[in-house]
């Protein structure tokens, strides 16, 4: 996309029928650090790659709990994301006050999309520069939506946004068909693997990713949206790495195997 004479404000169409300011806003999403979302029939998982402005600062917060039954992960201008999270929380609370029930996720995503659309049709506004992965649970199961600065939104089985998200999407494209029947643990592992793809060689640790899950157990009890704590995330990462190393160890019976505290896959007997 090059600069042209139709991109000065959002209320100007280009001759090809494009709104360049909206497209530029979507570019801002691609600059943010990666986020990944996946869902099964009963659970939805969000994962985000943390990025710190410098070694001295804390990580940018990218995953927000919106209600007991829903949360978002965002990529792009995090200030815009913070404001939108506040809006989503407000919508959920208002609905719960009137109806004493959680706001269904599709309706939440629609309200967010309508809000984003307003900014694409006012000369005194600019589009929000943040893409949100909205994950939640309602009567009809677990859902994952992607809300775009353009005001569009789609439901996904799995999706990734942000920088280097294509690597994560390629990973997810291979595996998403089975996700409906995945257990929560399997979803979490795939989310972490997808985030790992976006790190491009950098080591995945609990300090450079955030993980959150929401879902409903088989007996009907709801597991509310919550961030998984760093210690547990590290345990899962360690056990994933151990599981990767195991087939290599089996091929060489004389090689030494590191004992990992979080391993649940036992090394193969030779």
């Amino acid at each position: 996309m090059f600069r042209n004479q139709y991109d000065t404000d959002v209320t100007t169409w280009s001759p090809a029928g494009r709104l360049f300011q909206v497209e530029y806003a979507m570019e801002a999403v691609k600059q943010g650090s990666a986020c990944v979302g996946l869902r099964s029939r009963t659970h939805a998982v969000l994962a985000a790659a943390n990025k710190a402005a410098s070694e001295l600062s804390s990580h940018q917060r990218k995953v927000f709990r919106v209600a007991d039954h829903a949360g978002v992960a965002l990529a792009g201008l995090t200030a815009d994301g913070r404001v939108l999270s506040r809006f989503l929380r407000s919508e959920c609370i208002n609905h719960a006050f009137v109806y004493d029930a959680p706001l269904p996720v599709s309706r939440l995503a629609l309200r967010l999309a309508d809000k984003a659309q307003v900014c694409t049709q006012r000369s005194w506004k600019r589009p929000y520069g943040v893409g949100l992965l909205v994950a939640g649970l309602d009567e009809s199961g677990a859902h994952l939506y992607y809300n775009c600065p353009s005001g569009n939104y789609f439901e996904y089985q799995a999706f990734a946004i942000g920088s280097r998200s294509q690597a994560a999407k390629t990973f997810l494209e291979r595996k998403f068909k089975g996700y409906d029947d995945y257990t929560p643990d399997q979803l979490i592992r795939d989310a972490l693997s997808a985030i790992k793809e976006t790190l491009q060689g950098e080591k995945l640790t609990s300090s450079n990713c955030t993980l959150a899950i929401v879902g409903r157990k088989d007996d009907g009890t709801v597991e509310p949206f919550e961030m998984i704590d760093a210690k547990r995330v590290q345990e899962i990462i360690d056990s994933m790495e151990a599981a990767e190393e195991t087939p290599v160890a089996a091929a060489e019976p004389s090689s030494t195997q590191e004992e990992d505290k979080g391993t649940d896959a036992a090394p193969m007997d030779i």
């Binding site: 009137v98 109806y99 004493d100 269904p104 599709s106 309706r107 309602d138 009567e139 009809s140």
Partner: protein, 211 residues
């Protein structure tokens, strides 16, 4: 399999005159609920319009979610309480009941909300004189696992007491039932009454003399 029961008299008053004798005061709301009302009938009609809008937009979503009785009750409570705070109440006592399949199985719900916004959930609800005459009977004789026929008998017992003792009732009733399969509102019918008491024979017998 849960049944929920409503019964009422088919009348609407004009002040203290029982003017309209074929008025249905129970309606189905969405797929899972029933609403019954006493009080100002025109306000009930207005409430039904609000509920129509609500259930229509809910239905149009077509997203696998639907309004259950708890949600409708909560919504009505907000409406009633808000109107009361504006000193412009909807002059009704509403009974809201229903059955909805939840993740933990069938969930039944019965609650009421009145013109000042008082609301609660209970296994048996009554409005007006029903609170004084019917509730004591229901408290004594209701139990968790009654059959449909037992419930009808119990409700008819209450209706009969009300018919005899509440001067503003008529012998024309209607029963409605709601289950997970849907709502059934039965046609109106009457109960058998007995007026053959000695004191009612020759009523002018003791009327001799001055006022």
């Amino acid at each position: 399999m849960w049944n929920l029961f409503f019964s009422l008299v088919l009348s609407a008053s004009y002040g203290s005159t029982l003017r309209y004798k074929s008025v249905e005061r129970i309606k189905a709301v969405g797929k899972h609920s029933l609403i019954g009302a006493s009080g100002e009938f025109s306000d009930f009609q207005e409430i039904l319009r609000y509920l129509d809008e609500l259930t229509l937009s809910d239905h149009m979503w077509d997203d696998g979610n639907s309004l259950g009785p708890k949600e409708v009750h909560s919504y009505l409570t907000r409406v009633m309480y808000n109107r009361r705070n504006k000193f412009d109440p909807l002059w009704n006592s509403l009974v809201l009941g229903g059955v909805k399949k939840g993740p933990k199985g069938e969930e039944k719900y019965l609650g009421m909300v009145n013109m000042i916004g008082t609301h609660f959930e209970e296994n048996h609800i009554a409005t007006g004189f029903g609170n004084h005459l019917a509730i004591p009977i229901l408290r004594a004789e209701w139990c968790e696992d009654m059959t449909f026929e037992e419930a009808v008998k119990l409700v008819e017992k209450c209706l009969l007491v009300l018919l005899y003792r509440d001067r503003s009732s008529i012998n024309k009733f209607q029963i409605a039932k709601i289950t997970t399969e849907g709502a059934t509102i039965y046609p109106p019918y009457s109960l058998k009454t007995h007026w053959g008491f000695a004191a009612f024979e020759n009523p002018s017998k003791g009327a001799v003399g001055s006022w």
